[in-house]
Structure formats: structure tokens, C-alpha cells
Amino acid sequence: MKISRREVEKIADLSQLEYSQEEMEEFVPRFREILDHISRLDELDAQGAEPMYHGLPEEELSEDLREDEVSPVLSRKEALQNAPEALEGEFRVPKVIES
């Protein structure tokens, strides 16, 4: 598939990933090959088929949602225990708003 390098860079941007110039050089041809393989679906006429987005066909899915009742969840302390940085019971991140 003829995807341009610029397009691949745009996908990396959307993916929140960085590739160096050298890495891009290596990545793009392989990526194009994979796109060629998955483009195989072009040969299949599936217009009449409803898309299936779930893991089971509709008739096998459990329809009912649970009651909207409060149940125990993680405490604030537990939720923060793996945070790279926390401050006063909150996740701490680099400054977002310019002063």
C-alpha cells in the first residue's frame, strides 16, 4: 500500500510515539508490507454483512446491565500507590496551564 512517510509520521503523532529518522527508515517499508497483507480484505465482498463489534453474536450477549448501586472501589491511597508522582491525594503531572 502506497502510504507516504509523512502519513506514517502523522500516525506516530496520533499514537503518542516518537521514531527517530533512522527508526522511521526501517519502520516504513515493513509497515507498508503489513498494510499490503491486511488489504487482502479488499477482495472480499462483505457489503451484506452487519459489522460484528462484540466478542459474541448479539443473541449470546447478556443484555442486562447491573443495578446502579454503589459498591466498594479502590481507596484513594490504593489508587495512588503506583503513581509516579502524587501530591496531596492527587496525581501530579507537569504544569499544563501557562502562568
Binding site: 480484505l41 472480499l44 453474536p57 447491573r66 500507590q81 496525581f91
Partner: protein, 495 residues
Amino acid sequence: MSQERDSGKPASGDASDGILSWTAVQLRDRLRSGQTGAEEVCEAYLEQIRRHNQDLGCFLTVDEEGAREQARQAAKRLSRDPHEAGALAGVPVAVKDNIVTKGLRTTAASKILDNFIPPYDASVVTRLRRAGAVILGKTNLDEFAMGSSTENSAYFPTRNPHDRERVPGGSSGGSAAAVAARLAPAALGSDTGGSIRQPAAFCGVSGLKPTYGRVSRYGLIAFGSSLDQIGPITRDVRDAALLMDVLAGHDPQDATSSRRPAPDFSGLLERDRKPLRIGVPRQWMGDGLQGGPDPEVKRAVQQALEHLESQGCRIEDVSLPHSEYAIAAYYIVAPAEASSNLMRYDGVRYGLRADNPRDLQDMYRRTRTQGFGDEVKRRIMLGTFVLSAGYIEAFYSKAARTRRVLLEDYRKAFAQVDLIAGPVAPTPAFKLGEKTADPWQMYLSDIYTVTANLTGIPALSVPLPPGPSGLPLALQLQAPHFQEPLLLQSARLLG
């Protein structure tokens, strides 16, 4: 450490040889009757792990202290009332490291979760604990379960106990190799496109991918949410049934878990079996899919089918006419879901955070770029692409339609037969490094397994006698939704 080439089994005469040779069902029975003790069993396995794990790379984390404590508790429960002690009281189990364990490091074999200590247990882990199982530790996998050889682990590869130069399969390679080398009597794996069945086949053990929704996914680190299922990797199908009795059932924490009552898997296994009609898709055994299976695989499958026929089963030719499109559909749907699921790794709430970020955006990007391995990045890129404006219709929606087409193929086949049989993977275990340079070659390991995930049906990998190469071989059986008991029953006809 001196080692026999074929396995991690201890030399005969070893005091623990007996314990390590027992299946989970045999262990349970001996623990209940008091012939052996939970702590003795636990020590035998910890010793076996100490001796062989460095060489095989099955475990990422071994929880010696936790396992001993659980064994002590199980021993207490067993001494009070052996039959009320739980279905797995004192039976050690290994857990794939993409299933979260409270207080026990869980990495998904990724550097981005290198220091992650889960604050809760996955529902399957809660169920194991309630049943009295002893969790030995966390097994190796391809990073975030993305791979078919366990070579994508960010830590170290796992080696096949039958031939150390070969891969154990993946992504549940650590679990399958641990069971094969007797580093655990049973293990949990997860299967998004074949990740339980293919490593089970490569290592000569049993692996069951249950129906989507049969086992809770709560606490399974998400890869492809509409495809992922947790299931057992065991020495035989009786053990698979025993594990399923513990694992299966509705879970309010997982909205996709089924409300259908779980059957008595072990009980149904002992029932008389009516003769089954087994369909063999002509597309799988011919040369239609990438040239067809390797001759050794094909011969083993044919011999297994002949054996089933001699046991009264009727073998029929069936057609799954769109099989050739499954791998393309899978490598669109799975990366699409993964790209969304993996956006959560951004350095804010858990896991790695890049040093000295300039700003928030810089932190996200450098954290993800440093934390993810090449294959994970490739899948995120692929998933982001197939979901992007201008391509979503041609790729993602088309793949979703293809799932429906595959489902209709199965519906027609299952109107004719009870089960479908074929290979698990096109070849036996391949060599380390053999497929790492070309991602698509690696993806083709999954051509016979992905259809079960795309359609949600259950499927089982059953070990077969080795062929001329001496490597393990396997048969795959597939059944209609929620017909796991049929899979397990028919597998018993082979052993």
C-alpha cells in the same frame, strides 16, 4: 546446572519425583486423602522452579513467601475438612503476568509496567484463592500478549523444554513451558488470537480458550477486549475441566461475562459420550491457507482423526470458505482495540514515567516511546492507522463485517457437525530468532487459531504423540458457543 535436553524433569529417584509427576486432579485427591501435604507440594515446586527457571525463563516473578503462606492456609483448611477446603486446596498454579495479582508485581512483560504492584486481584485470581490454590508466581509472555513466540518479552525469552533452541510459542509461552517442564502442575493463560492454544501445542500440553464471556476478564490487562479470554493450560483435559469448574461463571465486574450458569465441567467429562460428528475444514488441511500445514503436522492431525473415527466419531468434510480472510481481519481488529486500550500508559497513574518532562505532551510521548517494545509500538501504529479518518471504513469496519462472514461460515458448518477439527499452528515449535525479523511471518503462526477469537467460539489444543522430529504436535478442536464440555469429552477419546 546440568540438564537433560528434553525436559526439566528431575532425575529419577528424586524425592519429589512423585509429587511433580501428578496431575492437578491427582494432586487434589492425594491432598484430600492426606497422602501428601500442601506445604510439601509447594516446596517441591519451588525447588523445581529454583533449579530450572533460570534456564527456561518460565517465570518473571516467583512468589516463594506468598506461596508458602497460601500452602500453610490450604493445609489448615484441608486438615479441618478436606471436602470443604476448596476444589484446588493446596494445588499450585502459575499465573500469566498479564493477570493482576494484589500486592504481587504484574508487568505484562513490559518495561512500562516494570514496577507495577496491583492494588486488586483479577476475578480469576480471587476465584483461585477462594478454591485454595497456591499461586507460585507470574509467568513470562510476549509484551502485552502481542506475539507468538514469547520472544517479545521485554525481560528474557522463554525456551521450549522439549528443545531449548526452540520457542515455546506465545504469547502464554511461560505458562505452557512451566506446565510442560513441571514447574507448575497447571497455569492460567490468555488467548486473543491463539495465545493459549499455540504455546500449548508447541509444548505438548492442553490449552483451552473458553467461549468469549465464559470466564471473567476483570483484571486481565486489556489487549483486544472483544477477543481476549483467560483459560487453563494443563497436563490433560481432566485438569482443564477442574480449572474451568473454578474459573467459569458470571462476574458483575465484567459486563461482557455471560449470565449463563457454568456447567459442571468435571462431572460432564465422566459422562458417556454419544458418537460425535467432527468436521474437517477443507481449507485448513489443503494448501489454501499459506500453502497448508507442514507435512508432519498434517500427518499427526490425520492420524488423530483416524483414531477418533475408530472410537465411533464420524469425520466429515466441511467448508469454512472465508478462512483465508481471517488473519487480515484479526490483524486489523486486534491492533485497533490494542491502540485504544494502550493509550492508558501515559506516565500519569502507574508504571513508567520518563525523566524530566518538558511538558505533559513530552511526558506522554517519551514515556510511551521508552516503555513499549518494537512489536507493541508496531501494533499501536497499525491500530491507530486502521481507525484513522479516511481508512476506518476500508479497514476496521470491513474487518468487523468479515467477523460476521466468518460467524456465518461457522453457523453453516455447525449445522452439519458437532465439532470442527484441524491443526493448531502450521508448524511445530520453530527456532528462536527464526521469525523475529519479519512480523508478518510471525503473524501467520495464528492462521488456524484467530477465527475462534473473531467469532467468540471455544477451542482446545490437545497434545498428540510426537512425530519424526520429536517435537510436540497437537490437534485443535472447536465447538459452538458455550459447548466447552463437548470439546473436553472428545479430547478424552484421544488420550
